[in-house]
């Protein structure tokens, strides 16, 4: 896997521009979402966000759908023994709050948490940070 152990520092992952411009967090004043790019450019924003876990399922679902709407229309996932599901079908499941839909919302939350942690450790970078690190 290309790793040579703990001695060698891992090369940071540069997140794609498309992904850092998706909704990344929810504004506490209810005025919408903040992207990761915005959060990096304006760190003061981090104090004006609401904790995802404290949101109602409906709000979490809206946030997840807002992210999913950036997916190509032909995006599909497969489920072992459960066939395939299109982007619009996933959105429908999320809106309905089905077990699958709730699982998808959880997986997005887990992803956001991972990115937040990795960015804070410098393991994931957004474009602006890359040019800074080259200075």
């Amino acid at each position: 896997m290309g790793e040579t152990g703990a001695v060698r520092k891992k090369k940071p992952v540069v997140l794609p521009e498309r992904d850092v411009n998706k909704p990344f967090a929810v504004r506490a004043d209810g005025s919408g979402y903040v992207t990761l790019a915005e959060l990096q450019a304006t760190p003061e924003l981090s104090g004006k966000l609401v904790d995802f876990a404290s949101l109602s399922y409906e709000k979490q679902a809206d946030f997840t759908i807002a992210r999913l709407e950036h997916a190509p229309k032909d995006f599909r996932i497969g489920i072992i023994g459960g066939g395939y599901m299109s982007r619009d079908e996933i959105i429908k499941e999320i809106r309905e709050g089905s077990e699958f839909g709730r699982g998808f919302v959880r997986s997005e939350q887990l992803w956001i948490e991972r990115v937040r942690e990795k960015v804070s450790k410098g393991e994931y970078l957004v474009r602006g940070q890359v040019s800074e690190s080259l200075r």
Binding site: M1, P16, F75, R76, I77, I79, I80, G81, G83, W111
Partner: protein
Amino acid sequence: MAKSPKASGRPILAIDSAWDPATKTVAEYRKKKLYPYFSKQGLKLTRLAGRLAMRILFRVRAQRKAVLFITGMGHGSERVFTGHDCKTLLEVGNYAAQEVENKIIHLLSCKTGAELGPDTVKNGAIAFFGYAEDFIFVEGREGVFFECDCEIDRAIAEGLTVAEVHDRVVARFEYEIDVLAAQDDLISGRLNAKSAMPSFSRHQQTLRPPQCEAAPNVSRDRHSCRLRCSAVV
């Protein structure tokens, strides 16, 4: 001295319930990418695929003491693992202990890690690897999802301990998640949700039987165990 897998003649029992588009895709992948690896390792494979993935055949094959490792793919729920046409193969409270006793079990299936996995260990399985939630993959990028799962089978086939298998698989997931994070978070986000793969085991988290001896020229720490050894815990 531990016997080689060939000498011990202990087969792997593989189940591939290929009956719908998603399971057919995975079955094809395992056939092409995983089973040849078992052959290279000198391991014998008994496969119940397609229509053969049925309860009566599973029960007979799984009860054979020689079978040490069961790797299965099919639809599942918290308490049930199914075969062809979604018919039950293994269900909590509805199987003989001999079907799981002294065996390592890995199921690529939705949710069986929630109840069925711990139940098999309670009934004598050495270890169980599986998923407590739905196993989903992204169309067009299936390979990376299946590959991460196959890492479990490969690590077991190489004879690692439960802890070693778990660590290696988590490392593989982590690596692939980071590779995908640089490409598309729709894919990495789905794989990330799988990385919390549960494993259950008895015998203090080890697959190594106490009487298993290291082969010459192999350090004990790296020495394999179950599939390379005819000893039974």
